[in-house]
């Protein structure tokens, strides 16, 4: 550990919030249908979409209609991706001549990209054709991110409504978020990344003659354009198996900083946008502060664990002050620590180092940040939506302690909201722990593990955590391209995505119908230090209580075993 390391982590985390702030007010204008400076160019294009689809963007849908449209859109997306992947072998733009994918892998990958998870049970450079990468996966990178954003837009409308009915128009939210936010920003970022040396080509690749005289085929792809939306859309699915640890996906420390920052930028922007749209900037800033504190603590803990003695290194009598196993030497431990926290806190799932090689508590922290429900800042929109659910739960328990029926942002929190809030956070324990417990005793599943003992359990836990949290990062070590893993991880991803979405939209419907209450001095203030502390407490206790027993058997026991091993090595 050194101050440069801490400064690097602080800079990376801080820049994301700083850029997300102004972007949020732009995003809010987009959600609200206000004028933006891109209007002259994009309004006609937007109108074209509505005309072609026969959609009236001004027509507000009920939560049920909104959710129906969202689910239908995602179902069609799933079928399309599945079909293209199966038929990849006979479709054009396949210079490497890759065959179609197996049924279970196509299912898993289609769910993965539709749900913004980008879990990859395959290695991109030896599996995916250029058409598959660009047409289906990249398209889903855009629209799955936009889908997440729509639920925040709908929820925001519910909070400002006074005995209203509608929560907005799904199609308009989808089109506007994609067109006004994701496309322009991705374009700019892609150009910057190309300038910094990232490949952008349709060529199949180059053949290198190695020193041993062998020929090595190196795939190239249009990396920069995909990389931009992979980060900004909080998708995380890389073209190359090594993801952002691959020199083509992350050539320099500068690209590392830029891409790391862009993981969180739109997640934070959605927080600020929500605050502006619900006319409660102060209250939502409190959520940003709470999330930032938790995320910084996570990054800090990973940095601390990764700069401690690893037993293997101690035994080998080498410098054991930094655990460099699984890290890029050109990036270093602080960059990896920041990335670990940001990618797991934001449901991104890209990696610039191997999480399996983190010290036990570092790996445990990566899991725990996902267990918290992907709210730091989570996916674009979906993160703030679940954070609001957490705030609702906090307000409900603590709000009673000021002697009033709890209310949040002027809406009373009653049985239905509590029910839906529970439903929204239930997917993570159900799918993560449920599938993990079965996989832990199922021989068909255990074949995919590399390790036994606590680290093996971590492999299982991490896979289902990552899938359910729609994160998509892998722990490495697990061979997931097998029917059991592909199928159950696919189901976990769908549960982790759509249970909260439907619950949040239903909550939006319920909140919209309620009268908007005026705050009084008797109302629990939902900004300021006290509420931030309370919210952090609720998030930690809720997340911690659910997963403590499982984590005790995985990373926690491994940590104590490693401590014992280090002591012995000395």
């Amino acid at each position: 550990m050194n101050w440069q390391g801490w400064a690097e982590i602080a800079l990376t985390l801080g820049l994301a919030v700083a850029i997300g702030w102004p972007l949020g007010s732009y995003m809010s204008r987009v959600w609200n249908g206000e004028r933006t400076w891109l209007d002259p160019v994009l309004r006609p294009v937007e109108a074209l979409f509505y005309a072609a689809c026969g959609v009236d963007p001004k027509k507000s849908q009920t939560w049920f209609g909104y959710a129906g449209a969202l689910l239908a859109f995602n179902l069609v997306g799933f079928v399309l991706v599945y079909a293209v992947l199966r038929l990849q072998g006979v479709l054009p733009l396949n210079p490497q001549g890759f065959a179609g994918l197996s049924g279970h892998l196509s299912f898993n990958t289609a769910v993965s990209f539709v749900t913004n998870t980008n879990w990859q049970s395959y290695a991109g450079e030896t599996t995916m054709s250029t058409l598959s990468q660009m047409l289906v996966l990249t398209v889903q990178n855009f629209v799955s991110a936009a889908t997440g954003a729509t639920i925040a837009a709908a929820l925001a409308r519910a909070f400002i409504a006074n005995r209203g009915e509608g929560v907005g128009n799904f199609w308009a939210d989808l089109v506007r978020t994609t067109l006004y936010v994701l496309l322009p920003l991705s374009f700019v970022l892609a150009v910057v990344l190309v300038l910094l040396g990232m490949p952008q080509t349709l060529a199949a690749g180059v053949t290198a003659h190695t020193l041993e005289g062998a020929d090595q085929k190196i795939s190239l792809y249009a990396v920069a354009s995909q990389e931009a939306i992979k980060m900004l859309g909080i998708n995380g699915g890389g073209i190359f198996n090594a993801n952002s640890a691959h020199p083509f996906e992350n050539p320099t420390p500068l690209t590392n900083l830029i891409t790391a920052v862009s993981i969180d930028v739109l997640g934070w922007a959605a927080f600020f946008a929500f605050g502006r749209s619900v006319l409660a900037k102060k209250d939502i800033r409190a959520l940003v502060v709470a999330a930032t504190i938790l995320l910084s603590a996570g990054a800090g803990i990973v940095y601390v664990t990764e700069t401690q003695a690893a037993p293997a290194l101690v035994a080998a009598h080498v410098d054991a002050s930094v655990n460099m196993e699984g890290k890029e030497v050109r990036l270093g431990a602080p960059a990896t620590a920041a990335w670990v926290a940001m990618t797991t806190g934001a449901s991104n799932g890209s990696v610039n180092g191997m999480h399996s090689s983190l010290m036990p508590l570092g790996g445990g922290m990566a899991m725990f940040l996902m267990h918290l429900g992907e709210i730091l800042p989570g996916g674009i929109g979906s993160g703030i939506a679940i954070m609001v659910v957490m705030a609702v739960l906090s307000v409900f328990v603590a709000g009673l302690m000021v002697g009033r029926t709890p209310e949040y942002l002027g809406k009373k929190i009653e049985a239905r909201e509590v029910q839906l809030a529970i439903l929204a956070v239930l997917a993570i324990p159900v799918a993560t722990l449920g599938f993990s417990a079965i996989a832990a005793i199922l021989p068909a599943a255990l074949k995919g593990l590399m390790h036994s003992g606590p680290h093996g359990l971590s492999e299982i836990l991490y896979a289902y955590t990552s899938a359910t949290a729609n994160n998509g990062s892998a722990f490495a070590g697990l061979t997931a391209n097998a029917p059991w893993w592909d199928a159950t991880l696919g189901v976990a991803m769908a549960m982790g995505r759509f249970m909260p979405i439907v619950a949040v939209l239903a909550m939006a419907g319920s909140l919209a119908a309620k009268p908007k209450l005026a705050p009084s001095t008797g109302t629990l203030p939902t900004h300021g230090g006290l509420f931030i502390g309370l919210l952090i407490g609720v998030i930690l206790i809720l997340g911690g209580l659910q997963f403590f027993p499982a984590l005790a058997l995985g990373p926690i026991v491994e940590h104590f075993q490693v401590l014992g091993a280090v002591a012995q090595a000395h």
């Binding site: 006074n162 409900f396 328990v397 603590a398 709000g399 009673l400 302690m401 000021v402 002697g403 009033r404 029926t405 002027g410 929190i413 009653e414 049985a415 509590v418 029910q419 529970i422 239930l426 324990p429 159900v430 722990l433 993990s436 417990a437 079965i438 996989a439 832990a440 005793i441 003992g453 606590p454 359990l457 299982i460 009268p515 908007k516 209450l517 005026a518 009084s520 001095t521 008797g522 109302t523 629990l524 203030p525 300021g528 006290l530 309370l534 407490g537 206790i541 911690g544 209580l545 659910q546 403590f548 027993p549 499982a550 005790a552 058997l553 926690i556 026991v557 104590f560 401590l563 014992g564």
Partner: protein
Amino acid sequence: MTTIETHAGEGRRKASALAGGLSPAILTRATKDAFVKLDPRKLTGNPVIFATWIVALLSTVSAVAAIASHQSAGFAVQIAGWLWATVLFANLAESVAEGRGKAAADSLRATRVTTNAKLIIDEKTGTVIPTAAHKLVPGEVILIEAGDVVPTDGEIIEGMASVNEAAITGESAPVIRESGGDRSAVTGGTTVVSDWIKVRVTASAGNTFLDRMIAMVEGADRRKTPNEIALAVLLAGLTLIFLIAVVTLLGLGKFSGVALDPLVLGALFITLIPTTIGGLLSAVGIAGMDRLMKHNVLATSGRAVEAAGDVDTLLLDKTGTITFGNRMATEVIAAPGVRPEAALRAAVSASLADDTPEGRSIVELGRNQGIVIEAPAGATSIAFSATTRQSGLDANGMSWRKGAVDAVYRSLALDPKLIPTEVTAAVDRIARSGGTPLAVSENGVLVGVIHLKDVVKPNVKERFADLRRMGLRTVMITGDNPVTAAAIASEAGVDDFLAEATPEDKLRLIRSEQAKGRMVAMCGDGANDAPALAQADVGVAMQTGAQAAREAGNMVDLDSDPTKVIEIVEVGKQMLITRGALTTFSIANDVAKYFAIIPAMFVVALPALGALNVMHLHSPQSAILSAVIFNALVIVALIPLALKGVKYRAIGAGKLLSRNLLIYGLGGLVAPFVGIKLIDLIVSALGLA
């Protein structure tokens, strides 16, 4: 309306059936009830305790199986026993809370009338036939004479009587009930002590006020309130989450080579689910209703009590609530050239024969300043009349008059231009300040002006300041003109006022407040208050008030004290705070329980996890047993808090939250570490595990 002190009800404890504390008899009955409630059908409404019941049953089966197969069963028997104790303690909390209500209901039942009523079958001759009270039908007319118990609820159509309503209100001083107006309702179970009345029956058997009162205090049709339901949903959700966390340990543990005893998993599950608040939840609600009863207020539903905690705007009638209701003399301003003492003396003399509260207050003012005058023998009192608009006294050739300023001027035939400017200025000042000026004359000469004022009760200003800190706006309702209203409003420190208010204005104000998203509470007693009482979120009707008002409101104040609304709001808030505090405490407890049970469960297979045994508990078995015992005992320990309620302090939401978070959040985090460690020391010292 009688004069009411601001803190009525606190000073004079009533002998009402609703008062009274926890007697040994109540506790005995509650203990018995706790066992009766072990019937699982009675527990289905409470998922947390129902889950505990199931696990207790399963652990009993496992204990019995261990005994049958001659294995060591001591641990299993103890766990099973403590799990049953957990359920029993939760039941006990509820039955103790119900106990007082049940006792109160019994004593109310005793006052129910079984004697015959005198049914009038011929209006002209007044012929009556004895009829059983329960056979009376609404619309029939009965005669009630001195000494009779009123057989059922009704409306006086003829006559006037003094009625002892102690059976209902606990107030033994009889009240006057008469036909016409707002004081014409009589209540079954009360006693006519003098005169006679003819009453038209308004309630059918089983539907009287007394019947409803019995049902309310007994909690017979107690339904869960909205917030209680919401909290129950949260607790059920947490129970489900912990069920998942515990059941999945079977698979995860097997992978890790840990042999998990189902009994231990069951114990972990029960200690993690929020049994503390789950066990005390209904007791908190019942105790809230009960606290209202101690204030002599009957709520028709728990929903109304809960709504009281949310009230934003409080509508208060000026008269009787904010002011004493009678104007009182506060000063006498002498005319130029008249000594102040002489002016006061004249004012007192003019009032000696005046028996109105205003007149008495003038005599009182004089006495306070050392002027005591007896009416001379042979004095003639001049009564107030609508035409002269003045009153006074003639004695020994002297005459004193006081009255409306313009009336006195006219009778003295004063030229308006000749009235001293000092007098005109005083009259203007009094009128502007909301008071009433009275002119005083002695022997046909103007000597001064009396300042009559609506006197604000002591302490109300402080109470309103308290309310403001609680987040409540107070609005004063008065029939006075805006000038008078504004003066009193500013003196009393209310936030707003509605002057020259008609009942329709009241209703309109409530609706407009509600449209702004505010909850409104009000109290009222007149029949014309009924629509507003029904519209308000919390409508408190006075027991002495009109029947229509009592039916429209969702609470009845047996003391008929309009300031009671403030206590009602506090009780509502207290109930919500108690729930929140116990929930926070319950959830925070889980952290320590994890540190007790998790290492105990896994340490044999994974010795490294012994590091988590931060409490250094004696053995895995003693750790688990101690956690289970703590979990059960904490319910008993918190029953008094659940019944008494967490004290509400009007210190603003932020401060209140940080205070309660510190006590129940941090306390909930720390207490079980201490408690479990202590129990572990005892358990291991006794060799129980």
